[in-house]
Amino acid sequence: MKKLINDPTKTVDEGVAGFAAAHSDLVRVVVDPPFVVVRADAPVAGKVGLVSGGGSGHEPLHAGFVGYGMLDAAVPGAMFTSPTPDPILEATKQVDAGAGVLHIVKNYTGDVLNFETAADLALAEGIEVQSVVVDDDVAVKDSLYTAGRRGVAGTLLVEKIAGAAAERGDSLDRVAEIARTVNSQARSMGLALAPCTVPHAGEPSFELGDDEVEIGIGIHGEPGRERIALEPADRLVDRLIEPILEDLPFAKDDRVVLLVNGMGGTPQSELYIVFRRAAEVLAERGITLARSLVGSYVTSLEMQGVSITLLKVDDELLDLYDAPVQTAALRWGR
């Protein structure tokens, strides 16, 4: 394990401190209880507050998406470990401007339980909270026999679009409804060529042979559902995109946002090779590529791999997607 870190137990603290130093125009960091990253001008009068969070190690998610038109606060937990209720409550209080607060929660038992407790506590303090649970990962069967689908890269799209709705002044109910719509129309799937290593663990999250690929990974370095021999990128893209297309299903003449997301250690040139094939598949199916986003946005430390997300959009969702956003990791229109 070779990393640009100091004390393995301080990587989250130091990373957040560096983030705060680099982006003091966008955010402030509340350090007690550690850590909450809050939009510099929060609470924004009259606006619904958006809070997300979860285990660290997925950067830029979530702190990188705090700012105008997206999140009002991010709550980074320990590495790959959901935050406890205290900082979630603190974030909720910091961003509440009286219009209520939306919690955007990725569907993991720990995240759901801790956000649940925080929402109860916020309610007890008189803050109206709604929660949206994101579960866009088609690699996991959504059945009674699993913890349900995981929230992965689609989270970014939920945060962007719900954030734009909040920024234009929508009510808490409406923002929550839009967030749920985005979640219900987003599907993702990912793969890894190489695992990641949690600093304090010191060992990779799983072992992969030199010619193996892990298909259907989550974003916590957990193993996927299937291990196969390495194949050309185009073939691997097909393996990711077919289950996505079938699941919603996406149909001819649908308009979609295509997000090709790197897992942290994947060079951009490879993401574009993946994008090329994904766009080709969409064209073959007569699906319209409305918007493209390519980058490492929802990551697993230095994992080498990629995920593909498709979001089906209508005019309203597209307008909200296009609306100005000014955060450390996503910025346009401002």
């Binding site: 209720p85 720990g110 407790t117 069967k141 913890a147 663990a201 999250s205 989550g218 370095g221 193993p223």
Partner: protein
Amino acid sequence: MTAGETTLDGAWTRRWIEAVAAAVAERKSALTALDRAIGDGDHGENLDRGFQAVLGKLDALDEQPTPGAVLKLVATTLISTVGGAAGPLYGTAFLKGAMAAGDRQALDAAALVEVLTAARDGIVARGKAEPNDKTMVDAWGPAVEAAAAAGDDVRAALEAAAGAAEAGAVATEPLVAHKGRASYLGDRAIGHRDPGAESSALILRVAAETQ
């Protein structure tokens, strides 16, 4: 002090928790290794962070706390320091246990069974896991039943609970998981022991060994 003379008072509860903290620190890597196999490799780290925080707070207790007061301190500390799935689940377990212990100065066997039952029910209420879903419930369920069947002797009850929890943890190995991260793995979870069941058995084993 010989076996059978133990009184499960606040001081005992405190000794137990201190011993749990030591045992978790010692078994940290092993618990994390189990979690790496079918989860995200942080279970030992999470619990250790929590119990170390508990150690730092024990001195804030009254000089002669009730068992319930100790359990409540453990609960709130775990809730606010562990995170992940285990934080709220263990937090709820200790919180419900504390409520069941109430103001009692010490727990007899019947009260112990009440506490263990409340703890298990708390975990089930929050996590919605059923038996054989390959979770910590598979340690707590058998533990409660064995303690209840052990009669009036607290030491026998503790020993029964620990043994049943350990057997329950081992019995998670052949299972497919239906809750928690291991459920994402489908059949690939088979053959691995559930880390939360293992840590639950450890906590109860330490109780049985605490004089």
